[in-house]
């Protein structure tokens, strides 16, 4: 069942959802959002793409096998945990770097916590898509 309207609408929605998912991921530390929510939103983008244009297209758009994305994410999430060991801190202690910080502002905060959240994002997105694609192809 192919529908031009759904396809055209999906194209815009997908792009929006993906950008929005990254926005959610990045703002997560201070506002509602974070890796879980971002990952789910991103997954929804590809799910809509799959429904509108078929899983084959969605898989091509994704470029990587979703289960690989999930486990790569798991690896990325582990890195900051081990990174803390370099400083003699317990596992998963956040390490921060404030670029251009002044007395009033934090400047550009970079942290291992963000890396961890990116890992969470990838795991959630990859896992959901693994399931959805497999189910769609099954049906």
């Amino acid at each position: 069942m192919k529908s031009v309207i759904v396809e055209a609408g999906a194209r815009m929605l997908v792009a929006l959802l993906l950008v929005f998912s990254i926005y959610m991921l990045l703002r997560g530390h201070n506002e509602p959002g974070g890796g879980f929510i971002g990952g789910l939103t991103g997954a929804l983008g590809f799910v809509i793409n799959a429904i509108a244009c078929g899983t084959a297209t969605a898989r091509r758009a994704l470029r990587f096998d979703p289960s690989n994305i999930a486990f790569a994410g798991l690896g990325i999430a582990l890195l900051p945990g081990l990174f803390a060991a370099l400083f003699g801190d317990p596992l998963f202690t956040g390490q921060w770097l404030f670029i251009g910080a002044t007395e009033d502002s934090k400047g550009l905060p970079l942290s291992t916590v963000l890396v961890f959240d990116i890992g969470v994002y990838l795991v959630v997105m990859g896992s959901v898509l693994t399931l959805v694609f497999a189910l769609e192809e099954e049906v």
């Binding site: 530390h29 890796g35 945990g81 795991v123 990859g126 497999a134 049906v139």
Partner: protein, 763 residues
């Protein structure tokens, strides 16, 4: 089947094949510098913290006992690995075998030098696992797989018991440190937990050391290549149990329970195994049963808490047995390699073709038979003296006499007859001498047996006395090892042993036939094990049929019924103390009531509809309502997640829906039952929720997070800060579960698909 199959003996071993042997030799040399300080009574300790919060240290101790074991393990290990390099040369998995053997040696070494009960346990389990790999090395053979699994299960069960025993020791003593445990003997023996501790620890030791009636895995483990048998049955694996008993001797020995259990199990094992050894026609099997006999004897002599003669006998026999047993196993391996047969009824007159092997066999055999001037004679003398000192002297002496006489006979069968007896049949390969790599081990070990016999003080000062001190827990009590101790009871007993043993040897062919006849009629423990496993599987199948109907509806009913029972119990016990504050209900606004009504409407739709898509939509309404509630109460993160998950669930179910038939209503009585269950659960949960909100909430934790999130973790969104920073390890665990669940679901779906394809192909 050893040399006859699986590899081509002509191609020489590569350099890589010698690596394990070199490694073992290096470890042996590394232990040498410790000999002098340990012999002078020092105890060397070394360690680092492993899990400091649990008081677990990764620590090593070198005292008399662990050094003696360490030297045996690495020394015999090096010779056995050298043997194995040649024995398995050309086998496609030869390197794998070397790796297994070396890992096993490391595990064993770790076990004996462990200074902490928990690290000891870890190494204990590692020896079980590596020996599983070794016994099952010929994994293409069903028999060898079965033997490996049997050894793993038996010793694994013992390992679990041992862990429980160690934990009980910890609850009494308050430490896993060996030093503390060994010093707390009195505390342990007075504790009400002493008997459970004893039972559990002995279960571990007896399974590992193959004591009757759990002995059957050891002869079966002969399915392994000969070097494994030589190693597992001489210096290591099976001695691990004996080592544990000796190690914990200062802490646990000295009670009636210890005395009687060890005497009975050790004695019965020794005699039973000696009889079984006579019955065997395979040389390797005969040796396996004499190992059982030796283990029984060793256990027997640990039974007493304070006799210095018994413990000296224990240490002396331990070393003696390791030397001659490893040598004899390697000799049997060489014979197997040189003739293609291990059958005692066929082999004979090999001394001409295999002179070096024959001499090594003779030396080791004389030591095993306990003849002077070999070290076996001295050990036997000390054993008899020790037996006379034990409280149950008559029984122990009788056990020891019978076992030693039978051992004399078996030594003749294994080490004498194949080489010097008359040849009685054609061997598959015409006999030829083994290469140097295979001869070095038996020759060195057998010569040591003679050297230690002639110069007993060397063995005494390096290997025996320090060990005796460690087992007894006090220094300077080891009895002297002497070749000639004058005419005394022990010498007379020795002479009786020789006479009995010789008579048995002369009569052994007829005895063997009688025993085989009798053995076929007697119940077999091995078969009993099979019945036990079958019973276990039948039980599992029965309870699966009983509990697993395969219908989700039934599982959910069972889950919720269980939940209901526990909730009602909790309410009945604690409920009356908690009131419900109905005032809070009055504060609810129209908004909240509206959301509640929405949720209720969704639920109603789900329960009455017979269309799946309507049901899903209804559930979606319920989920959205809950998300709305989260938003009203200021938890946007949770609300967003909830909504997203709801959307995804609808998508997923919608996908599945295309394949599913219409909802078939359950039969009427079942529906009523479900309704009652659902209402009861809902009612009880509501009640509990009302009680919970009526009690003041402990806000310490939330306040702490609110206060510290910004200054310490630089985040304003507390939920996210908790997820990625304060509780990052938990989150990591959760996402790992998410990823694994997705992978599992994927493989289930794939399995279904390939199953369906196969069906199509079959039609």
């Amino acid at each position: 089947m050893g040399a006859a199959s699986g590899h081509d003996a002509k191609s020489g071993p590569g350099l890589l094949a010698y690596l394990p042997a070199l490694g073992a030799a290096a470890l042996f040399l590394a232990l040498i510098p410790a000999v002098t300080p340990v012999a002078s009574g020092e105890v060397l300790r070394w360690g680092v913290d492993w899990v400091p919060s649990l008081g677990v240290r990764f620590s090593a101790v070198l005292d008399g006992l662990s050094l003696t074991f360490g030297l045996l393990i690495t020394g015999i290990g090096a010779l056995v690995m050298l043997f194995a390099a040649k024995y398995l040369a050309g086998h496609i998995h030869a390197h794998r075998f070397g790796l297994y053997l070396f890992s096993f040696m490391l595990a064993m070494l770790g076990l004996v030098v462990s200074d902490n009960l928990l690290s000891l346990f870890v190494f204990w389990e590692l020896t079980s696992i590596t020996s599983y790999l070794l016994i099952g090395f010929g994994h293409a053979d069903a028999k060898s797989r079965r033997s490996a699994l049997q050894a793993l299960l038996v010793t694994g069960m013992g390992g679990l018991a041992l862990l429980a025993g160690f934990i009980l020791i910890y609850t009494v003593v308050g430490s896993f440190d060996l030093e503390v445990v060994l010093a707390s003997g009195a505390l342990l023996k007075e504790s009400p937990l002493y008997i459970p501790i004893l039972v559990l620890v002995l279960a571990g030791a007896f399974t590992k050391s193959a004591q009757f009636p759990l002995h059957f895995w050891l002869p079966n483990a002969m399915a392994a290549p000969t070097p494994v048998s030589a190693y597992l049955h001489s210096a290591t694996m099976v001695k691990a149990g004996v080592f544990l008993l000796a190690r914990l001797h200062p802490a646990l020995a000295g009670t009636d329970a210890w005395l009687w259990t060890l005497t009975l199990f050790g004695g019965v094992t020794a005699v039973f195994a000696s009889v079984m050894a006579l019955k065997q026609t395979d040389l390797k099997q005969a040796l396996a049963y004499t190992t059982l006999m030796a283990l029984g004897t060793l256990v027997l002599f640990l039974a007493d808490g304070s006799s210095s003669y018994a413990i000296t006998g224990f240490m002396a026999f331990l070393v003696t047995h390791s030397l001659y047993k490893a040598a004899l196993f390697l000799v049997v391996g060489t014979v197997d390699h040189g003739t293609g047969s291990r059958d005692a009824r066929v082999l004979g007159g090999l001394a001409k073709a295999m002179p070096v092997t024959a001499i090594a066999a003779a030396l080791a055999g004389l030591s095993m038979a306990g003849l002077p001037p070999f070290v076996g004679f001295i050990s036997k003398e000390v054993l008899y003296k020790g037996a006379a000192e034990l409280p149950l002297e008559t029984i122990v002496t009788a056990f020891a006499l019978a076992a030693n006489a039978l051992m004399f006979a078996v030594a003749g069968i294994v080490a004498f007859k194949p080489f010097w007896g008359k040849p009685r049949g054609e061997t598959p390969v015409s006999p030829h001498e083994g290469p140097w790599q295979m001869l070095l081990g038996p020759v060195i070990l057998a010569t040591l047996g003679l050297a230690f016999g002639l110069l007993p003080w060397i063995k005494q000062s390096i290997l025996v006395s320090p060990g005796v001190d460690a087992v007894l827990g006090r220094p300077g009590e080891a009895e002297a090892l002497r070749l000639w101790a004058g005419v005394n009871l022990a010498l007379i007993l020795s002479l009786i042993t020789f006479a009995l043993g010789f008579a048995l040897y002369i009569a052994h062919t007829r005895l063997r036939e009688a025993l085989i006849l009798w053995g076929d009629a007697a119940p077999s423990f091995d078969a009993g094990w099979d019945r036990f496993l079958d019973g276990l599987k039948a039980l599992a199948a029965w309870q699966t049929r009983l509990l697993q109907s395969g219908r989700l509806v039934n599982y959910m009913a069972a889950t919720f019924a269980t939940l209901l029972v526990t909730l009602v119990l909790a309410l009945a016990l604690r409920g009356p103390a908690l009131g419900i504050d109905f005032d809070t209900l009055g504060q609810l606004m129209v908004k909240e009531w509206a959301i509640a009504a929405l949720i209720l409407a969704g639920v109603l739709v789900v329960t009455v509809t017979d269309s799946r898509i309507t049901a899903i939509a209804g559930l979606g309404v319920v989920g959205a309502g809950v998300a709305l509630l989260f938003i009203t109460y200021g938890a946007p993160d949770v609300a967003i997640t909830q909504l997203l998950v709801e959307v995804l669930v609808v998508v997923l179910v919608a996908l599945a829906l295309l394949r599913l038939p219409h909802l078939k209503p359950e039969p009427e009585p079942r529906r009523k039952l479900d309704a009652v269950l659902a209402l009861a659960i809902g009612g009880v949960v509501t009640l509990i929720t009302l009680m919970v909100v009526s009690t003041p909430v402990d806000r310490r934790l939330s306040t702490w997070f609110e206060v510290t999130a910004w200054p310490e973790a630089y985040g304003r969104n507390i939920v996210n800060v908790i997820l990625v920073d304060f509780r990052a390890l938990d989150t990591f665990g959760e996402i790992a579960v998410v990823a694994i669940a997705a992978l599992a679901a994927l493989s289930l779906l794939r399995a279904r698909r390939t199953g369906a394809q196969k069906e199509e192909a079959g039609q």
